[in-house]
Assembly symmetry: C2
Homo-oligomer: 302 residues x 2
């Protein structure tokens, strides 16, 4: 915990992150953003040969799609719903009265049609399903968006709002597993050229509650999720910077997504935690990018 | 209204925007994002000589800062608060029960410490004030973030989630007015090189309710807000694509921000509606960027 606070303080002191008073919600300096942009371009260069379709969603998604996705069953504690004031002048006066007295004014807020995006690929599946059956050989998408997870923390690698880049493959079981296998290899190469120490391990998502513990061990037993971990805050407990996920036919079933031959589609994704990789770079190579190894600077800035 | 629906449909048909089922919440294609990126770079080239400090905030901000900002007094109808589930296994079971019965599950959601950013500069003022008094000649910041405004609409230029680039000047009255004057001229040049028709006019913010009507006319009378308008959906009612705002000492007072000589600081900003300018380009030059005038392509892609 002390080590975490101290890395966060180092980042604040260097001006790379900016304190907003809310744990996990930070401003970023121009230098920090430049590293994010260069890492983003590096991912693109590793994936370019695949010719993915680029789609960018805003940081919120359709609530009805979110409800149908199953996210609330597995991760209710992480979700963020967007609420709005729909009242009139009198309601407004009441709201301001509550506010001026330091009282809770949330009763005036009504749930809107927007939910914060929990992972870059959640808005994609309903969009892909609307196009009808997949073409032969399936589809591949390239995504990036700000995501929200309600897990306030002093660990700078656990932000409430962060960016996730993703490639998402849709097709047959064999197609999506081959995609994941390819990225398990590419991911190692990618983090290798960034001169970061790492390990790859089987993993599980942070499923909620008692039932969640069984879902987590089933996920591990089936080898559905792997993570590429880099020490960021702690050498003992490294941080997942990339993840490689096989969803089986979960999203295919949920959204009625089928392959060219009419089978329920399988899906897989590789996700890149943009801020986490930037933080790993600052942790291992120092807060001054000018002082990074020349070989690394060449990889990122050419 | 028909003209609006039809431009939105054109954008969907061309694949530039992607329907999510919620008005004002759209996915963007790679081609759309490329135009955004190139316009972003063009703004940077127009502003480069000023040496602004680059800061990037996520799409959410500290709720306590938001409450103090005065936004809820003026625009309660546009705000989006983020709510989360903080219950246990039993609460989770209730939530899922509500969901499966198609009932309102919002009572389970509690207001969090995060509010969606309503304009790129709102998280900036408390950060700037924390640094103490402004240096001689004040400060200049360069911002970009996704913003949220709850105004569902079929007009593609009125999105619920959109990006706003901003330059924000803090200093004396004369300094910030000179900044605004310079950008009123630069903004005309910028939209001119994009070969878009435009006009600049005095304007007002969409203040809420009965009291809001008086605030709006006072703002116009004092010439605090100007907009650069381009026909996007309608030739009759053009869309504000850039805005030039003088806040007087509103934010200086609110955040205790002072100049080097100890006076309450004045602030001004120029805001760029990123999606609105991209949409204006698609409207006037066509949905196929390859077919845009060579002169314009040179300006954007070099």
């Amino acid at each position: 915990m002390d080590a975490q606070v101290s890395f966060l303080d180092q980042l604040f002191d260097a001006g790379l992150l900016i304190d907003t008073g809310v744990p996990g919600l930070y401003g970023r300096s121009g230098a920090f953003e430049d590293v994010i942009d260069r890492f983003d371009a590096l991912i693109t260069s590793f994936g370019r040969q695949d010719g993915a379709e680029v789609v960018r969603f805003p940081p919120g998604m359709n609530r009805a799609h979110f409800e149908r996705s199953g996210y609330l069953k597995s991760f209710p504690q992480l979700a963020g719903t967007v609420h709005c004031f729909c009242g009139d002048d009198a309601g407004h006066a009441d709201l301001l009265q509550c506010l001026s007295e330091g009282k809770d004014w949330s009763a005036r807020q009504e749930m809107s049609d927007v939910v914060l995006t929990p992972a870059a690929c959640y808005p994609l599946y309903p969009m892909a399903a609307k196009r009808g059956a997949l073409p032969a050989n399936g589809r591949l998408f390239d995504l990036l968006s700000y995501c929200f997870r309600h897990e306030p923390s002093q660990d700078p690698a656990r932000m409430q709002m962060f960016r996730m880049r993703e490639y998402v493959r849709m097709g047959t079981r064999d197609e999506v597993l081959a995609f994941r296998e390819a990225w398990l290899q590419r991911g190692r190469e990618l983090i290798g050229v960034l001169e970061l120490p790492f390990e790859v391990d089987v993993a599980n998502d942070p499923f909620f509650g008692r039932a969640g513990r069984m879902m987590a061990s089933s996920q591990r037993d089936q080898g559905l999720k792997f993570e590429l971990l880099v020490p960021v805050n702690s050498a003992v407990k490294p941080t997942a910077c990339l993840s490689f996920n096989y969803h089986q036919d979960h999203f295919g079933q949920t959204w009625g997504l089928t392959t060219a031959s009419g089978e329920t589609a399988h899906t897989a994704c590789v996700g890149f935690g943009m801020e986490r990789v930037a933080l790993a770079l600052f942790r291992h190579h120092g807060v001054d990018v000018e002082a990074w190894p020349r070989s690394l600077r060449r990889v990122l800035w050419g």
